[in-house]
């Protein structure tokens, strides 16, 4: 009794995977997720589908929604790494006691120039962070942000700072002014 059922289930799954395959490829290409990084995303979503199939009425819609969400999360994690790197680098620069005076002045000027080009609220937040070493909860208290939203706000400011620093790095504008 069980063999025909199992084979029916398999062929049904095979059919399903065949039908969703083109949409999945289009989705990943649309989100530009590198192929080698899609393996986990696809596997996790399909395993969840298998184990929770009884609760899912439209598997194709569910799968595409889940994959879309996982692609967004994938890039969110990547962006967070970029911002964290910039944040850590900026904190290192400002806290660096050993660098030669001229060198320290140059890099600090680059950072300050990048911050100067940001909107007022980001300037206030990042200045407090890098000049006074404020942590997010202290920033929230000082600047009147909600404690629950401060990390998101800080991330946005870091995103803006990253853009400006990339701008300076690419164009060398900061250097030109100092030379």
């Amino acid at each position: 009794m069980s063999a025909p059922n199992t084979s029916a289930a398999e062929s049904s799954l095979e059919h399903f995977l065949k039908s969703v395959r083109p949409r999945m490829k289009t989705l990943f290409a649309h989100f530009q997720v590198p192929p080698q990084d899609t393996e986990d995303i696809v596997q996790q979503a399909l395993l969840a589908l298998l184990y929770q199939r009884q609760e899912i009425r439209d598997p194709e819609a569910w799968l595409m929604g889940t994959l879309r969400n996982k692609c967004l999360l994938y890039w969110r994690e990547r962006r967070r790494k970029l911002y964290d790197a910039v944040d850590a680098a900026a904190l290192e620069v400002m806290a660096e006691p050993m660098a030669p005076e001229q060198e320290g002045a140059d890099v600090r000027r680059d950072l300050e120039m990048a911050i100067e080009r940001l909107p007022e609220r980001c300037r206030a937040l990042l200045s407090l962070r890098y000049s006074h070493g404020y942590e997010p909860p202290e920033l929230a208290k000082r600047l009147g942000y909600s404690p629950t939203s401060i990390s998101k706000t800080t991330n946005r400011c870091l995103a803006a700072l990253t853009r400006e620093l990339a701008h300076l790095a690419m164009t060398g504008l900061g250097r030109k002014k100092t030379q």
Partner: protein, 586 residues
């Protein structure tokens, strides 16, 4: 496995962009030695102090003409390097290396410096996050760093890293990578999908067998007393079974409606099984599927803890429930890639705890998250259930109108054939809300069409709830004799079944009918009966105190409709909030 969780063995999918990135992946740029090399540049922003920078610099110093490859630049901009590597690459760029700048411009599709205008502060202000509560305004593009559309190869609506929502908070276009650096074509996904699909097919083949096996284990486990069950789960590898855990969770959920103590016991075993399965995880899983399995197991553990929390809540152990939910939430926090359905389940159950603790705002916030998840996953049935729960929550805050709006939306989403129990629950609550909102005729019409659903369900509790509702509607229509008959019938049944609390509530409904008719003698007799019954049974002390106030007033023939309604309202609230204190208005 890469640091971002990519699977092992995926290397080589897209040719030169191997999976395991090595920071030494730098290439010689012809002519760089004669141009602006690292040695000729000034000290850079991040050189000192950073471990990764030192690592990178040792390569640069050795080669003198070495620079960042397109791949490294792409991975830097998309967060694909380790933290130390990212800092060092960033430092190299800030150092002002002309070759790498040119390379980066090409990879990130950045126009030449001459084309870069100064940033407009006014426009930029639109991108600024505001304090909580402030509205965001639409912004203008402020940086031509990022003019993706200029590049002929850039995809028209790419959703990659550089124009994704957070990075691009105000629809500011960002640099888009050129196709050869970061945009794989669709065919490149075929090998990956082939691999995953074949693994999933194997998993699917085994899943039915695993379900049957889990059923057998469950039956075996249920033959033992609770202490022995725990022992078996801890000591016997046979019971470290994921499907068994799923089976226990489902059983615990079902028992929650019937027998809270049994529901708790099953949830405790489910937690033990989930933890044992997680402990055994590395031994039993193929390496290639490890990250996905790890997330799935974390989801299972979170759901098991949440189910235990829910079972404890139903058994009125709110502190124990809160502790169990803390464990579930810790798992959610530690595993950000957890499945949305797992998250929704935890939030859903937690919202019930918040409602019982009268933390209505938090409960509503959690339910909103659940609704958002189900909407995103396109699961109308589950979304309907969540809306129904929110409707009940809103009803608890005395917003009958708002509650009815939510319940009606829920009814549109729940399929009566697929989910008849929930459909009936929502209809029942809507009818009750209609009577409370002074619309008994509408309630009567809806009840007429809903009656077959109760009869179809058939179980005694559902039929008693139908009868209670009929009494409530009849009372709303001022058909007080019909209401009295219904309430008496339901009260007697609850007394017979030993369901004291509901017996108290329906007795107060009956008292309200007597009060409306001015039948003080019958009310006094009813109060005497209630007192005898509730003194012989365990009932919450505060609820008993409220009932005593009513009984004393009834004995003195001073219990009016207002007092009856006040005591009834208190009893409904105190059922899930034993800390509430009864303070009669007069």
């Amino acid at each position: 496995m890469s640091e971002h969780g990519g699977p092992a063995g995926a290397d080589g999918v897209d040719g030169g962009r191997g999976h395991a990135y090595d920071v030494g992946q730098m290439h010689d740029v012809p002519g760089a030695k004669g141009g602006e090399s690292h040695a000729s540049t000034r000290p850079h922003l991040l050189a000192a102090g950073a471990t990764g920078a030192r690592c990178l610099e040792s390569v640069l110093d050795a080669g003198q003409g070495q620079h960042l490859s397109k791949d490294v630049l792409w991975r830097f901009m998309t967060g694909g390097l380790s933290a130390a590597e990212m800092r060092s690459v960033f430092g190299h760029l800030l150092r002002g290396c002309a070759s790498c700048r040119a390379q980066a411009r090409e990879v990130w599709n950045i126009p030449l410096p001459a084309a870069i205008p100064p940033v407009s502060k006014d426009a930029a202000a639109a991108t600024v996050p505001r304090p909580a509560g402030a509205l965001e305004t639409a912004g203008q593009p402020v940086s031509t760093l990022t003019n993706a559309s200029r590049h002929p190869l850039s995809p028209p609506q790419a959703q990659g890293p550089l124009n994704a929502p957070v990075f691009d908070a105000t629809s500011r276009p960002e640099a888009t990578p050129v196709a050869d650096a970061g945009s794989p074509n669709e065919a490149a996904y075929d090998p990956v999908l082939d691999r995953v699909f074949s693994r999933i097919a194997l998993e699917e083949a085994g899943i039915e067998v695993a379900r049957r096996h889990a059923d057998e284990l469950f039956e075996e486990l249920m033959h033992h007393p609770p202490a022995r069950q725990q022992l078996l789960v801890h000591n016997s590898a046979r019971f470290r079974d994921r499907m068994l855990c799923e089976r226990l969770l489902a059983a615990s959920h079902d028992e929650g409606f019937r027998e809270p103590a049994m529901s708790q016991q099953l949830a405790r075993i489910a937690v033990a099984v989930a933890e044992r399965v997680a402990d055994a995880f590395p031994e039993t899983t193929l390496e290639s599927s490890a990250p996905a399995q790890s997330d799935a197991l974390a989801g299972l553990r979170a759901r098991a803890w949440a189910q235990l929390g829910n079972a404890l809540r139903i058994g009125s152990d709110l502190e124990g429930a809160a502790t169990a939910f803390r464990s579930a939430e810790a798992l959610l926090a530690a595993n950000p890639r957890l499945g949305l359905l797992d998250k929704a389940r935890v939030f859903d159950l937690k919202s019930s705890l918040c409602r019982d603790r009268r933390q209505f705002a938090e409960a509503a916030r959690l339910l909103d998250r659940v609704i958002t998840i189900y909407r995103r996953l396109d699961l109308p049935n589950l979304m309907g259930r969540a809306l129904a729960q929110k409707g009940l929550l809103v009803f608890s805050t005395r917003d009958v109108e708002g509650s009815m709006v939510l319940l009606r939306r829920a009814l549109e989403l729940i399929d009566p054939h697929e989910d008849p129990r929930w459909y009936l629950i929502v209809r029942h609550n809507l009818i009750w809300a209609l009577v409370d909102d002074g619309k008994p005729r509408e309630a009567f019409a809806l009840l007429f069409h809903t009656r077959p659903l109760y009869l179809k369900m058939g179980d005694r509790m559902n039929l008693l709830r139908l009868r209670w509702l009929e009494g409530h509607v009849a009372q709303g229509l001022h058909r007080l004799e019909q209401a009295e008959a219904a309430f008496r019938e339901v009260r007697d049944a609850f007394v017979e079944l030993g369901i004291e609390y509901d017996a108290a509530l329906v007795s107060l409904d009956l008292a309200a009918v007597f009060a409306q008719q001015g039948r003080t003698t019958e009310m006094r007799e009813l109060a005497e009966e209630m007192l005898v019954f509730f003194e012989a049974h365990q009932i919450l002390p505060e609820a008993m105190a409220a009932l005593l106030v009513f009984c004393n007033a009834a004995r003195m023939e001073q219990a009016g409709l207002a007092l009856v309604q006040e005591v009834a309202a208190f009893l409904k609230q105190a059922r899930n909030a034993p800390d509430l204190r009864f303070a009669p208005r007069r």
